[in-house]
Symmetry: C2
Subunit: 110 residues, 2 copies
């Protein structure tokens, strides 16, 4: 499939307050996240390289001990195996992230 | 570098009416495009897999002979070596695209 109407894709639940809509490719996975205020992704790392941008709202990230607020329109980069975590700030936020290689765990998640 | 304020990144010019701001990784390249109304990316293909989403405005794409209008918030996927082209529709549009493997040609472009 080449085209996706994102709002019509059924969401998966990654964690409390964290919905995701996943587009899977051969070399990468694109994920549209919808985050409730206060939703948290705890500290973790993975071999996949990760890039992201905030589509709406704002999040606080800690990437390799460097804590920043990322507002709408801005971007970030998490290299392979770097420890990172995130928290959704005051309003419902939307975040797009891309991973390479593909996140097999996200694709298979019910 | 882990964090990017996209508007403060100096744009590169890809074609008439097409600005891009490029974030380079080890396995992928993320590009923020700003397109003037009517700006065109002619038919082409590349071995890199490509995924994209419209951040603002709308574009018309032809992916493997399938022509669609992609509006803000929606997404598309161009597999390796698939022929595609695009046109920016009525207003200035912003598009985010990601490529894997990295687009060495975009990284080096002056």
């Amino acid at each position: 499939m080449s085209y996706y109407v994102v709002k019509e894709m059924p969401p998966k639940i990654l964690a409390k307050g964290v919905e995701m809509r996943v587009i899977s490719g051969d070399k990468m996975t694109m994920v549209f996240f919808r985050l409730e205020p206060g939703a948290q992704i705890p500290e973790h790392s993975h071999p996949h390289e990760q890039m992201g941008t905030v589509l709406k709202g704002s999040i606080e990230l800690i990437i390799d001990k460097d804590k920043r607020v990322v507002n709408e329109g801005n971007a970030y980069h998490v290299r392979s195996n770097v420890i990172h975590s995130g928290t959704c700030l005051g309003s419902i936020s939307e975040v797009l992230e891309v991973f390479s290689p593909p996140r097999e765990d996200y694709i298979q998640k019910a």
